[in-house]
């Protein structure tokens, strides 16, 4: 006869492979982390007195969790306070036209309102307010190097000491897992007053999420 723990394991495993818990979906459901990050970013603005309005959601809020596709076919948030008018978008392309940089796809981007050009690329020099790279992983050093590489291509002035004076809202690496092995880099960014941050353990309901919302900018 099976023990209670064995029954519990069997019950859990029996669901895998069925319905929306098929392996092909399980292997892609991590993308919900990007949608989650988009929401906590919207919430960070809301709690600072910005007005948030969901757009393009007549048939439900459709999170664009993949790089291809026209961003205007998916939902996004607008963010407004006084003269500040931004959009929070998922998976849009950005390029620094002044430096003819690489064109890079950003997981979450906060851009100036109506700044997506006809080619659906945001000009990172002029219109990218901030961005977040979202990894449903534990942190490891290569992720920081990748973030710094993206910053170098798109907004290299963020890499200078005291860049926070010019870029009020830090771009960030958002991790769902532990960032223990790389958090010393976050301390270094803060010590140098750089507009780059790393946030770890962003899991539903965790204190880390509340801390991100309160302390991001």
């Amino acid at each position: 006869m099976s023990s209670q723990f064995e029954n519990a394991v069997n019950d859990f495993l029996a669901q895998i492979g069925q319905s929306i818990f098929r392996i092909d979906i399980l292997n892609r459901v991590w993308k919900a982390f990007m949608a989650f990050c988009m929401c906590i970013i919207a919430e960070a603005f809301r709690q600072r007195g910005y007005t948030i309005t969901p757009k393009n959601c007549a048939n439900g809020f459709i999170f664009k969790c993949f790089p291809a596709g026209d961003p205007d076919n998916y939902s996004y948030f607008t963010v407004e306070k006084g003269s500040e008018r931004y959009e929070i978008r998922l998976n849009i392309d950005a390029q620094n036209f002044q430096y003819n940089s690489l064109r890079l796809n950003l997981d979450v981007a906060v851009i100036r309102a109506n700044s997506l050009g006809f080619n659906k690329i945001v000009d990172s020099q002029n219109d990218l307010i901030t961005f977040a790279e979202c990894k449903n992983l534990r942190g490891f050093p290569e992720l920081v190097a990748t973030l710094e590489g993206i910053v170098y291509e798109l907004q290299r002035a963020r890499l200078r000491p005291n860049s926070l004076a010019n870029f009020r809202i830090p771009c960030c690496l958002l991790l769902s897992g532990s960032g223990r092995s790389i958090l010393y880099m976050d301390r270094r960014f803060q010590k140098r007053n750089m507009s780059i941050r790393i946030f770890e353990s962003l899991q539903p309901g965790s204190l880390a999420v509340i801390s991100f919302i309160r302390n991001w900018f």
Binding site: V9, A32, F33, F66
Partner: protein, 128 residues
């Protein structure tokens, strides 16, 4: 639970989730699956459950919270993850199913005596 129990449970996961999953767990523990199974089956089981928690359970929990957030603050009833141009995951229609899946995970963790490592957190960050 005995060491043999832990081994049997580890094998169940490996059989169900296949070689790609095992390779990922091996990268996580930096050790061969069979060796870890022999040497420290409880630690191996924790590594397996950590991987499942991070990759499968948390994203579903996030999707439940996203649905609640959009409904409570913006009165949006339907939320959809577009995983690719043609592959949409309709979260709102699946909430009960997702909740059952997540609950069964935490029930399993409790029965295995691992609830300290994998606590369900339900704080609503938009209400703080």
């Amino acid at each position: 639970m005995t060491e043999e129990d832990f081994r049997r449970i580890c094998r169940k996961f490996a059989d169900k989730l296949g070689p790609t999953f095992i390779e990922r767990v091996e990268r996580r523990i930096k050790e061969d699956f069979e060796k870890a199974l022999e040497k420290s089956p409880k630690e191996l089981l924790i590594a397996i459950i950590e991987d499942i928690h991070l990759r499968f359970i948390l994203p579903f929990e996030m999707s439940l919270q996203i649905g609640a957030y959009l409904a409570e603050l913006y009165d949006i009833k339907d939320c959809i993850l577009a995983l690719s141009e043609r592959h949409y995951l309709y979260l709102s229609e699946r909430q009960e199913e997702i909740r059952r899946f997540v609950d069964s995970f935490y029930r399993m963790v409790r029965e295995l005596g691992l609830e300290e490592q994998f606590k369900k957190q339900e704080e609503r960050w938009w209400k703080i």
